[in-house]
């Protein structure tokens, strides 16, 4: 078997239904271990996060505020997957896919919660006040001695995968979309992306946080405003779209065609896939950002993890899905990008779609640059930061020019592989998460591991 065949095989598994079941099982396990935190503590979670959004600094450990950390993480998770990915899920699985996306997203909340909790709990502080954390740290510091190498493996996969999922894919999508909508030459887009990304990444986590804090909420609000307008335009079909999500959740539509089993499988696969992969719960990447938060207790940052999934999957994905469903394009379109553009159904819809996409993918590119850099510095020390940044910026430029499909596919597989050590670690460290949750809700102080 040659390298390409091996990559194709691995890719099928890491993004396939078997792996989805593992994601769901881990989400369910963590939901139970945390005492159903995303349900039982929902009021506290909202009060502690969105309810305290004006509170910028908590002033304890970490380098950036909990809100900034979440915006960095959200900047990474919100990308093509929320827009074209959701559209594709509906084209493949029908409206019922949205229902399963919600279910997977709700389980993913516990996964992301656990990742953020562990990221803060096991983060490392340095003499200059900076911190580093994420799966590579909780795997190498929290797991039994014989499994600590998983931390290094995770860092290796993340450092390389960042060039694919975070970089080439994103800059290529941005360049393609801006060229199609406005005729911007891809080289120009590449140059712009590289220069702006270079400026932001050069400032380290603090500058990335300031950028994310300003742009991500703006992007979210802009998307929701455009989405609300588009939904208003499709107003008459909205109730039907919502009803269709529930009616088709168990493959009803296809049942009429006589292939219920297959349709349900497709619906489940498409919906669960979106619910898992669009918010990255289980991949562990967002934990790298959450580890940077100034917070007095890991559980408090875990709440932001829940909110991150809520905003990504239950808000953004749902709005996108409703736009696609209410527009009716999902019944006629042949490709997801085409349906995504057509769905908006508003004057200049293709321009709006291109701008929304460009913003979403740019924030992803920046946040993944940070993730990759953190992972590389875990492996090779602080000296690797600048060489990594420069390479990453060069990739951002050339990615816009296109023609890196092979590299992107390999990086995509590496990205999927990141989940394996992370999910294993989450299961093995479930007891630590449960203990921290118990302690927090008894009013006990956090005692970082020695």
């Amino acid at each position: 078997m040659d390298l390409l065949s091996l990559n194709a095989l691995l890719n099928r598994y890491v993004w396939g239904p078997e792996m989805m079941l593992v994601f769901l099982a881990v989400g369910l396990y963590l939901t139970v271990r945390t005492g159903f935190v995303q349900f039982s503590k929902i009021g506290i979670i909202f009060r502690e996060t969105l309810g305290a959004i004006r509170e910028r600094a908590l002033g304890a450990g970490g380098e950036i505020t909990p809100f900034q950390a979440t915006m960095v993480a959200l900047g990474a998770t919100m990308g093509q997957g929320n827009l074209i990915g959701v559209t594709a899920a509906i084209l493949i699985g029908g409206p019922g896919a949205v229902f399963w996306m919600w279910i997977a997203g709700i389980l993913g909340m516990a996964t992301k919660f656990a990742e953020a909790v562990l990221a803060v709990h096991f983060r490392q502080r340095y003499a200059d006040g900076s911190v580093s954390g994420g799966p590579m740290f909780y795997l190498s510091l929290g797991l039994p001695r014989g499994l600590r190498w998983l931390g290094g493996l995770y860092a290796f996969l993340a450092a390389l995968a960042a060039f694919g999922i975070g970089n080439l894919t994103q800059s290529s999508a941005m360049a393609g979309s801006l060229e199609a909508a406005f005729g911007v030459p891809v080289g120009l887009t590449g140059l712009f992306v590289a220069l702006v990304a270079a400026f932001i990444l050069a400032g380290g986590v603090r500058r990335i946080a300031v950028f994310a804090q300003a742009l991500v909420p703006l992007m979210l609000l802009g998307f929701l405003a455009a989405g609300a307008y588009a939904l208003a335009m499709h107003g008459a079909a909205l109730a039907g779209a919502i009803a269709a999500i529930f009616q088709h959740a168990f493959g009803v539509q296809a049942a009429a065609g006589g292939a219920a089993g297959y349709a349900l499988q497709q619906t489940l696969k498409a919906g669960v896939g979106r619910g898992i992969f669009s918010n990255e719960a289980g991949l562990g990447s967002a934990a790298i950002a959450h580890a940077q938060a100034q917070v007095d207790h890991p559980v408090r940052q875990g709440f932001w993890g829940v909110i991150e999934v809520f905003l990504d999957t239950l808000v953004v994905n749902t709005v996108m899905a409703l736009i696609v469903l209410a527009s009716g394009v999902w019944q006629e379109a042949t490709s997801a990008p085409q349906a995504f553009v057509a769905a908006w159904g508003i004057p200049g819809g293709s321009s709006v779609a291109a701008l929304v996409l460009a913003l979403f993918v740019f924030t992803t590119l920046v946040s993944w640059g940070f993730y990759g850099e953190e992972a590389a510095s875990f492996l090779f020390g602080e000296g690797i930061r600048w060489p990594y940044r420069i390479t990453y910026i060069v990739f951002a430029f050339v990615g816009a020019l296109g023609g890196f499909e092979l590299l992107t596919t390999v990086a995509d597989t590496l990205n999927g592989l990141m989940a394996i050590p992370n999910l294993l670690g989450l299961v093995l460290l479930g007891g630590v998460v449960a203990g921290l949750v118990r302690g927090f809700f008894r009013g006990e102080p956090w005692r970082p591991p020695r």
Partner: protein, 267 residues
């Protein structure tokens, strides 16, 4: 120079002693009060205490039962009053007797006033209600120092203390700080947590155990036992339910002041 303590030589007797002199300045330092009286040409030409001036300042200072004084021959920095020493002595003689009758006023006017949780019924006049509302968290001296009302307020305060509507607690000399609320959860608890460094600083300044009095922006106050906690600079952690009672929540800026209950005083 003449120095001493008002507990040995009350102001009235001190003024009688100084009447023979040609002029000078008397400085008084008591807990909660600082005052100055200036003499020239056998007349009182300057009197100032806690923002009061003239006769009001003299009335306030007459009520002090303890405090250091220092008399120098230097003339007062300015003149803001004009009365013969004899006239002042005559006026203050009656006032000193009145002060003596106010047995419930503490000697230490630096003590803080607190509204008590007394359930006893007591009919209060409008004046008394005014003082009652004004007293919470302020020193005795601060409550008394109102132009034209010093003695009247002293009478009211004496009555409110007598009926235990108000109580006094020692002032620690540690000013209030603003801390940001951070809730904690779990079994109901009255304990407040502040950052370890702040707790240590307060403990060193106070020299013993202390509680925290917390005031919300809505004016609701409560007192909490306090413990230190790591990693919460500029924060006060209160139980979620206690925060709700203060009508505050995460991020609310709370005025926090350490206090010592009687019996838990500075060693």
């Amino acid at each position: 120079m003449l120095t001493g303590n008002l507990s040995d030589l009350p102001l009235l007797e001190l003024l009688q002693t100084l009447a023979a002199g040609s002029g000078g300045t008397l400085r008084i330092r008591a807990r909660g009060v600082e005052g100055t009286v200036g003499f020239a040409r056998r007349r009182v030409v300057f009197a100032e205490a806690l923002g009061l001036s003239g006769l009001d300042a003299l009335i306030l200072l007459t009520g002090l039962r303890q405090g250091r004084f220092e008399y120098t021959g230097k003339p007062p920095p300015e003149e803001n009053f004009e009365a013969s020493l004899e006239a002042v002595l005559t006026e203050l003689a009656g006032i000193a007797d009145e002060w003596k009758r106010l047995a419930h006023l503490p000697e230490d006017w630096g003590r803080l006033l607190r509204q008590t949780a007394s359930r006893r019924e007591l009919e209060l006049s409008l004046d008394e209600l005014g003082v009652f509302a004004d007293a919470e968290g302020r020193t005795v001296a601060e409550v008394l120092a109102v132009p034209g009302e010093v003695l009247a307020r002293a009478r009211v305060l004496d009555r409110l203390l007598k009926h235990q509507v108000l109580a006094t607690i020692p002032s620690l000399g540690v000013g209030p700080v603003t801390l940001v609320a951070l809730p904690y959860y779990g079994p109901q608890s009255l304990t407040a947590y502040v950052d370890y460094d702040l707790y240590q600083r307060w403990a060193e300044e106070i020299g013993g155990g202390f509680k925290l009095r917390v005031r919300s922006p809505r004016g609701i106050e409560a007192s909490f036992p306090v413990e230190p906690r790591q990693q919460i600079p500029d924060r006060i952690m209160l139980h979620d339910r206690e925060l709700k009672k203060l009508r505050a929540g995460r991020g609310t800026r709370l005025k926090v002041m350490p206090e010592v209950e009687d019996g838990l005083t500075k060693p």
